[in-house]
Every structure is written in structure tokens, then in C-alpha cells.
Point group: C2
DNA sequence: CAATAATTTGACCAACTGGTCAAAGGCAGG
DNA sequence: CCTGCCTTTGACCAGTTGGTCAAATTATTG
């Protein structure tokens, strides 16, 4: 029964999601209006609602897409690889996302700050399980003496915190750095931090 | 001309600011309504507006108070002290704020994510100057060989990022840690991070 | 206790909100 | 060119929003 989307549908749905991402990531769900999204997408409000059932539908559609990209890098972490390399690679992947998809990061941040009303289940379910698995791996590495003993959970938190900071607090970072590109120094600093934390 | 506030004024203004802090920190300025704040404060909406000119006035009043507490710990950093001790003390001060004043942290986060429309000037002015001064101090310490060479700006960012993460992403952190108190491990991890980053 | 000032409220308003709907406009295949 | 479907829109609606105001209520003070 699902007819494949026409060209026009694809284009407009993409435009709406792109506009929604921009608006929702800045003002959060409650602070955003359909008119803002419609303007940004270059469509009329009723036209938006022809493609999406409701404001909520646009938002949850964005969140769903986001969660995939959010969890994926975690899965790519290879227990067989070199500990420092693996964690560094993960951190860099996250930093790249902050650099190239800051709106996604801010959307996520907004949702969490609001209390994660729509993704709390994923956090307590899928995400937690994933992190638990990785914690086991990291503890294993530490037990083998391949890295220093660290709390794996807080290690992961610090990678998240630092990398997402460059997207979520972009305005503040740039206010302080002036013309210097934040991401130049960020990567080196991230390396230094992980190195100091992990290398025996 | 400024008559001192009566008991009733003090009580109600405090109630309004407390309610405003709760509401604004969760939903941001645009996502919050005066009715929410009024309910939370246990006052009627017109009564709110008897004490504050507008929604904006409540919000900016909160931001002003917040900025003081936000900048103060930075000023307490003593260039004469022991580098690692000083930075560690600063980080712990920030972590304590995240633990005991998470709403303030989230209010700040919301404002920044929105693009800091009301405090951009402070960021580019007062905050930037302060950070610049501290950067000089840190660079001095490094030049004297008392700490490893680090980018002082990104060092400060990582302290901010990590400490505020525990307040702003509280829901996510607790979703992952379950019953474990985040702030137990956080302080130790913060120490480990700074130690690894600073100790030669 | 009366008078004055501070506080609280219900009724109200214009603008905005998310959402509906019937009708009109456009576009493909025959 | 016509038919049928996809797309777009203007008009509209009920509920919410920030904010006003005059009147009522409650302190405070001489």
C-alpha cells in the first residue's frame, strides 16, 4: 500500500525536516512554532501539515533520525582494536559530528535538558545497554593493563561532554576564541586529554 | 527614591524568581509561559506582573543573577597558587554548582544554545577578558615548566564541558548510571583528567 | 479606627498558536 | 485535451499567550 514517494514529496519532506531541525534545535519543541518552520521551509503552514500530521510528528521524525546517528558510532567501537586508538577514533567521530552537524547536537541537547520526555526510554534502554557493553570492554582493557584504570562511564561522559560542548556552546566558544577556529585546537586537546587519561 | 522592599515583596519576588528559574531552565525563554511560572510560584498571572514588568523582566533578572555566580569562580583563581591545585579547585567549584544548582546551569545552557541573544555581549566582553587573563596565567605556568603545555582555552572549555554536563545532561547521566550517584565518580574522574592533562 | 498605601484579582484584549477544511491549482497518463 | 490524482492555499476555528485595568481586598500607619 505504501506508494514510493514522488519527487515533490521527497523534496518537500526534506525541506520541512531541514527547517524543523534548524528551528527546533534553537528553540526546543515548545519554543518553536509551525509558522517558523513553514517560513524556513518556504511552505505554507497547511502545506506543512499535508506532509506531516502535526508539529509533534515533525519533531519525533527528527529525533528518530537523530538517534540512529547518535548510537551508531558507539557500535563501531571494536573490542579487538587498540584501546587508545579505538577510544580516540570514537571521540574524533563525535567531534566531527559536532563540527558538521551542530544542529543535530543542539536538538539532542534541548531534548535532554527538557527532561528527555520523548527519548527517556531509549536512554534507559538501548543507550544504557550499549554503554554497559562498552564499559565491560574498557574495564577489560584496564584489567589487562593496556590502559590505566578509569571509570568507563565517566570516561564516556567526558568524551560526550567535550565533543558536544563545541556544538552546543558554539556561541560561547567562538565568543572567547574570536577568529580562531575552535575545531583546530579541539582535536589536539581531545587527544591530549585521552592520552593523559588512558596511557599508563 | 528606592523604597526598601517590604517583607511581602521580598517573599513574592523570591517565589517568582524561583519558579521562573525552574520553568525557564526547562523550557527556555520562548518555551515557557507566564501561566506556568505563576502556577509554580503560587500567584496569579496579573500578580506576577505586579512584581515584574514582563516575562522578559523575570528572565533577564534571572540571567543577571546567574552571570555573577558564573563569573565569580573564575576570579577566585589565584595566579600565585599551585597550578594543579588552583585548576582543580576551580573545577570542583564548578562541579559543586552543577550538583547544587543544576537549574542555573540549565538556564545558562538554554540561553547559549538559543544563540545567547541576551548575554552575547557579556560573553564577548567580560567573560572573554577574564578567560584571556587566565589563559595568560596558565601559559605562564606552562612556560615555567610547572605544568605540561596545554592550550589554556581548550583546557577551560573541557572543565566547563565536563562539569556542566552533569547538570545539563543529568537525565541522560542518570539513565545510564541507574542508582549510582553521578557526583560520586565525577569528582574523582575530574581529578584524573586534570592530573593527566597537567602533570608533567 | 480611619485613611492611606500596598497587594490581589477577575474580566478582558489583541496577537498568536496548532490544526481543519473545502476549494482551487497543477500535473501525469491516456 | 481531458480525467483523476496530487499538491497548495485562503479562510477559518478554538485555545493559548503576554499583558492591561479598574475594582476589590488587605496591610500599614498616624
Amino acid at each position: 500500500m505504501n506508494k514510493p514517494d514522488t519527487r515533490i514529496q521527497k523534496k518537500n519532506q526534506a525541506a520541512i525536516l531541514d527547517a524543523g531541525l534548524l528551528v527546533f534545535s534553537q528553540f526546543g519543541f515548545r519554543g518553536s512554532t509551525l509558522d517558523q518552520v513553514a517560513d524556513e521551509a518556504g511552505l505554507s503552514k497547511p502545506n506543512l501539515l499535508y506532509y506531516f500530521r502535526s508539529k509533534e510528528a515533525i519533531y519525533t521524525s527528527l529525533l528518530a533520525k537523530l538517534l540512529e546517528n547518535w548510537l551508531e558510532p558507539l557500535r563501531e567501537l571494536d573490542p579487538q582494536g587498540d584501546p587508545v586508538d579505538e577510544l580516540m577514533a570514537y571521540a574524533k567521530r563525535k567531534l566531527d559530528m559536532s563540527q558538521h552537524f551542530p544542529r543535530e547536537s543542539r536538538l539532542f541537547a534541548n531534548e535532554i535538558i527538557q527532561g528527555a520526555p520523548r527519548i527517556g526510554d531509549v536512554l534507559r534502554g538501548e543507550l544504557r545497554e550499549l554503554v554497559d557493553e562498552i564499559a565491560v570492554v574498557i574495564n577489560g582493557w584496564a584489567a589487562e593493563g593496556r590502559i590505566k584504570a578509569v571509570d568507563p562511564y565517566h570516561l564516556i561522559f567526558s568524551i560526550w561532554a567535550l565533543t558536544q560542548h563545541y556544538a552546543d556552546f558554539d556561541v560561547q566558544v567562538r565568543a572567547i576564541l574570536g577568529d580562531v577556529d575552535p575545531f583546530d585546537g579541539a582535536e589536539k586537546h581531545l587527544e591530549a586529554m585521552l592520552h593523559g587519561l588512558l596511557t599508563p
